[in-house]
Symmetry: C2
Subunit: 640 residues, 2 copies
Amino acid sequence: PIMWLEKSHPLGYGEPGFEPLVVLELASDIKEEAVVWLLSRIRDPQQNGGHLGPGVRPQEKENPNLFLVGASWQRLLSGAEDLGLFKEYSDGSMRGFTCSNKHNFKDFTGDGDSFLSMAECQHIIKHELDTLRAREETHVPGYPQAKLYPGKSIIRRLQSKRILIQMFPLHHKEELKRLSFSWYQKVRLSLQPLDSIRHYYGEGQALYFGFLEYFTFALVPMALIGVPYYLFDWEDYDKYVIFAVFNLVWCTVILELWKRRSASLAYQWGTLSRKQAFEEPRPGFHGVLGFNPVTGREEPLYSNAKRQLRIYLVSLPFVLLCLYLSLYVMMVYFLLEGWVLSIHDENPTFWTGVLLFIPSVAYAVVIEAMNLIYRYAAEFLTEWENHRLESSYQNHLVLKVLVYNFFNCFASLFYIAFVMQDMVLLRQSLATLLITSQILNQFMEAFLPYWLQRRRNKKMVRKVQGRRVLEDKALPLAEQVRLEADMSTYLGTFDDYLELFLLFGYVSLFSCVYPLAAVLVVLNNITEVYSDAFKMCHVFKRPFADPAANIGVWQLAFEAMSVIAVVTNCALIGMSPQVRAYFPHSETQLILWTVAVEHGLLALKFILTFLIPDVPKHIQIKLARIEFESLEALKKKLSS
Amino acid sequence: PIMWLEKSHPLGYGEPGFEPLVVLELASDIKEEAVVWLLSRIRDPQQNGGHLGPGVRPQEKENPNLFLVGASWQRLLSGAEDLGLFKEYSDGSMRGFTCSNKHNFKDFTGDGDSFLSMAECQHIIKHELDTLRAREETHVPGYPQAKLYPGKSIIRRLQSKRILIQMFPLHHKEELKRLSFSWYQKVRLSLQPLDSIRHYYGEGQALYFGFLEYFTFALVPMALIGVPYYLFDWEDYDKYVIFAVFNLVWCTVILELWKRRSASLAYQWGTLSRKQAFEEPRPGFHGVLGFNPVTGREEPLYSNAKRQLRIYLVSLPFVLLCLYLSLYVMMVYFLLEGWVLSIHDENPTFWTGVLLFIPSVAYAVVIEAMNLIYRYAAEFLTEWENHRLESSYQNHLVLKVLVYNFFNCFASLFYIAFVMQDMVLLRQSLATLLITSQILNQFMEAFLPYWLQRRRNKKMVRKVQGRRVLEDKALPLAEQVRLEADMSTYLGTFDDYLELFLLFGYVSLFSCVYPLAAVLVVLNNITEVYSDAFKMCHVFKRPFADPAANIGVWQLAFEAMSVIAVVTNCALIGMSPQVRAYFPHSETQLILWTVAVEHGLLALKFILTFLIPDVPKHIQIKLARIEFESLEALKKKLSS
């Protein structure tokens, strides 16, 4: 990799041509030889004008080693070619970028200064750093315990041995200001600036916000229909049936249409045509160094059969065991609750009144603890499964965690709905869950971290101001880096999607019991947009861009949820007294009818899914055109 | 198109370099100017050494105009390139054939005489003829009523106006002998020679026989498990449950594995990588002449939205109406049957005994008539929907017809099973249906046509022999052409697949009522292989090769059937007295358990379908490699 590297120093920045993009924070007690070795590996030996900045170390003792990494435009463009970035061509189609052909791309002007977004540049540098692999080295110089072998990712080993503390992309003050203004500081309601978000944070983030926005709009009709049911207390189940059927069909349709919208966005952003199989493996991937059978590049290889064995023989049984445990804990909780209630009913005193709360509290604590342990275990297992692609790793991790979370969140609701058959309690629980989770989430996600961050910042600023008086108008870059290094790390869109997923569960699974759910979720989503945008801009470190082509396994998760929703809604309607009144003599008839309707709805769902094409026609044509031209080009190449 | 064209003549064949491939039969009263025009369009004007055979017309009055079409090897190879045939490259991968690169293909030796199979040559010629499109002509010369407009397929118009009677590929005596020997004349049991079938008849046929063989082998375990149930009269439903669950999982697994096998076969035959979207439209396709947005070639264009409107607003309601009619007829039949039975029971005489048969006979006649009308209507509608690709046309036609046939075949069985709940009658009906359909089919499909054909041949041979005495050792080509022209036309694999589909329905839908079904189907399939092979070789005209990559909509149909099978089997088990005995007090409990088990099985099915990859890993890698190389080649091309 050909890179410029610069140590951050409190005096700010001398070199005018250097734009810092990524920050590396090394351990404060790092050995000098390791630093020299790492820098020599990052800097390209053949680079013309390769350049290491003035090695001024920060004076303060508590300040660790911060290095800034940048690269020349030439280097970034060739990195974009290596990564296979897709850019808009002069004819309006999206094509893989090549340096030798750069002038034919639409937005390429002059020396290409604004051609790549900052997020793309940072992604390119991250990619280059991630794919720095050991060759002859057996260990990191100065650290005999940090073993290396051919093909091992250097950055990965440094991270695992805590020699490299962190690596993160820098914010761009100006752009951030512009983005946050158009995003959430404008008072009037407007669509989110998805293109700007993508420009600044990358495709993964932009798709999340795109989905959040889409999902909110899609829920509006359900919310509007739900309001009169709530206001006029329409306990008439004839009407509920219509409401539920509308909800089910609507859920299917919006999920299918989202696929199309997501494909349009991803095409326009150039990630739809990118083939992940052709990408470099993720840094954590290990194996024997060999040649990739598809691309012919040298990289670690790992047998697919071994991975499958690990998944099916270890991960799957583990997940099932955890689900069983979780179910067991829930049953114990309901037992305890019943037992405590009976004690209280027999002889109600103040202490039995307190006792009433104990099972709930204990259950909440146990569930939270189990959640935490499970999350760690899931991460460990997924890492151990050794997936080649980041997306595949993410998908497997998400699948594990979300199955467990789904179970934990909904098992008790299912129990209330179908075992206890207490609709009033169900409605209460739903309302409580929706409202408290909304308030809590907003608080925990945005305001609390913001407040903590602000306190830290103030301290920092005070300290800096103290120094500033002495040094007079120092450039704020060094402080900016220092401030950002101390911000908490954004852990990806996982928790945000999970929250949406659970909300979707509340609104779809039990929609016919609590028609107001959609309204609450819409309200929640509107505030969620703001709080998520705020936390992305001001609370967390800037995350690296993630060139996602779709929302991955979440699409599947939402679809699975909508299938389960058909079952639960039909069951709830079948259980309602109004419907029962139609079959006064025979419960069997009632159940058979319910099951028949449910099967019909499921069939309708699958037919709808099948009939609505996942990619809009005009994009299909553009993709086919690229494919056709590629095949023709290959034919010509082979012929010549 | 650069073609050689030759009129068949009774004296056989003078030109030694000419290999006749395809026969065109023109109307016997065709006007001379139309012939001259057609020949001029077929023969390429720029062709070097272009050649029209000695125009000797057959002497006999009853002999119509038969023309033989062949082509030089050069022409066929360039046709193969136009069609985008995939052939094995020297490195073992499958690549699009190009003339300039021909020597790098594995089997290309010398002047490429055996490089293309005869089926491929015939397919190339058919393709060239089909894509002969009118340019300035407003009508066929000599036929003012046969209108032409730019882009209209000439062959299509000639066929619709009965100027061109038929067009079919010639058999190759020697190869046919070899093929039929290895296929069905050997006494010992062996696998079918799929590669030879593909070589002679093309990929569509070979895939059908591959599926038939695979399906037969896949049913063997079900048949073996079914035998003891039948022999020992295991009326124990505990065991039936195991049997049914095994069947359901097995059906899912074999269908998934077939996808993989089909992908392997298609890859090896070069049809998997072929992109149908890049192919020329089917001859019946019409529209305004324009430029294809993908390939940039000039061809008719037709709006997709219009086609969708025709499908959803006309075809779909029509199919639903027909299904309703069919259901109505069935209900009338059951009513009549009950009424006749009551008359017979009241006062049984000889005439009421005769009367008992009348509803069944009337029902059979009405159903057969409706089937026939429906088939015509479906063909008309699908034609009218104006599909661009032959495969898409076939899929829509198949879907229409098979839904109706499924309904007709199984509606009465469903009625017996779930409304009358008469398991003994169900078992009887199943056995009768399976055995009679087997015998009837075999007779109607192979022996009857064979016998008719043989009688016709004998007449012909006698006539020829009479002449042969006069002319002494004439080459039999003219007679061969004459004989083949009189054979019946093979209407594609549709009816064969439909038969397999219905058999699969009998064996999977009601497997737990009649465990012997699988045995009967296996026996039927074994004879079916022979009778189908025989009829392909000796009863019907040779069909044109069809470069199929999979069994198309049939895969979907079989999968849908296996989903329905889960529902019916669970319902049948739930209805069995043994299972009812477990829930003596509550029918509700029984139904709820049945439904729960059914949902579990359905979920298992979908997870299995999802987990088993459709294309084997090693083929995925090969496909990805081609795609990667193509994209790289495109990048290079754009750069240079």
